[in-house]
């Protein structure tokens, strides 16, 4: 009895021991990556709801032209460490089954996807709230920079508000 409960405890601890995961994708995030990620959760039959947020590059009007792409760079080591902290924090706050974060690096054209946040839970509320919180914190706290490339060959550094 004691042995079994000790084993269970170890398993629990093991499960909780998560390490930083890569969140970066070179170039745009393909819609097929998203459907594949969804399909991967079909075996997790304790999930009742998934919440997904996708960031898409807008063709904003700038002085002298229209945005045609955003070029993303990051302080990668720090971003991965920070993403890990956010991840742990959000996992501890909401009863989630799964959480996935992907962010583009390099050039992403207008109309393409640059951010993919995906949370799953038994009930919808946790998945929805966690997803929204993740998006806010990713934008606010991750050292990632987007340079908007304008079609007259100028560029503008974005700034999240």
């Amino acid at each position: 009895m004691i042995i079994i409960s000790q084993k269970l405890k170890n398993m629990e601890n093991q499960e909780k021991k998560r390490t930083p995961k890569n969140i970066f994708v070179n170039g745009p995030i393909a819609p097929e990556k998203i459907s594949k990620s969804i399909a991967n959760h079909a075996t997790k039959t304790d999930i009742g709801g998934h919440s997904i947020f996708l960031g898409q590059v807008r063709a904003d009007e700038k002085e002298g032209g229209t945005v045609k792409a955003i070029e993303y760079t990051a302080y990668e080591d720090m971003a991965l460490q920070k993403a890990f902290e956010i991840r742990e924090d959000v996992f501890s706050k909401y009863p989630l089954t799964c959480m996935h974060i992907y962010h583009s690096l390099g050039e992403v054209k207008t109309g393409e996807i640059c951010l993919f946040v995906f949370t799953s839970s038994k009930h919808r509320k946790a998945a929805i709230d966690a997803c929204e919180e993740l998006v806010e914190r990713i934008k606010k706290d991750l050292p990632i920079w987007g340079k908007e490339l304008v079609d007259n060959d100028s560029s503008v550094w974005k700034e999240n508000t």
């Binding site: 990051a74 080591d77 951010l115 990713i138 991750l142 700034e159 999240n160």
Partner: protein, 75 residues
């Protein structure tokens, strides 16, 4: 020590990475950088020492990696 520059600041500094002699704290470092790169004087940015964001004057360990971080714009 190593100084990393990102985003708009990398464009101003002209380099992603510069090696400089060890400086004792972030105030001294900022003074040095603003003298070397006057354009930094009008720029908003924060610092990270060994990948942790800091605020106020902070000691810089020998051989540390200090990063100059303009406002984030991921997502």
């Amino acid at each position: 020590m190593k100084v990393l520059a990102f985003g708009k600041i990398a464009e101003i500094v002209g380099n992603q990475e510069i090696e400089i002699d060890n400086l004792p704290n972030t105030e001294v470092l900022l003074g040095y950088l603003r003298q070397q790169y006057p354009q930094l004087q009008n720029m908003k940015f924060t610092l990270a020492v060994n990948k942790k964001q800091v605020s106020g004057n902070t000691e810089i360990p020998r051989g540390a990696e200090v990063a100059l971080l303009p406002p984030f714009s991921g997502g």
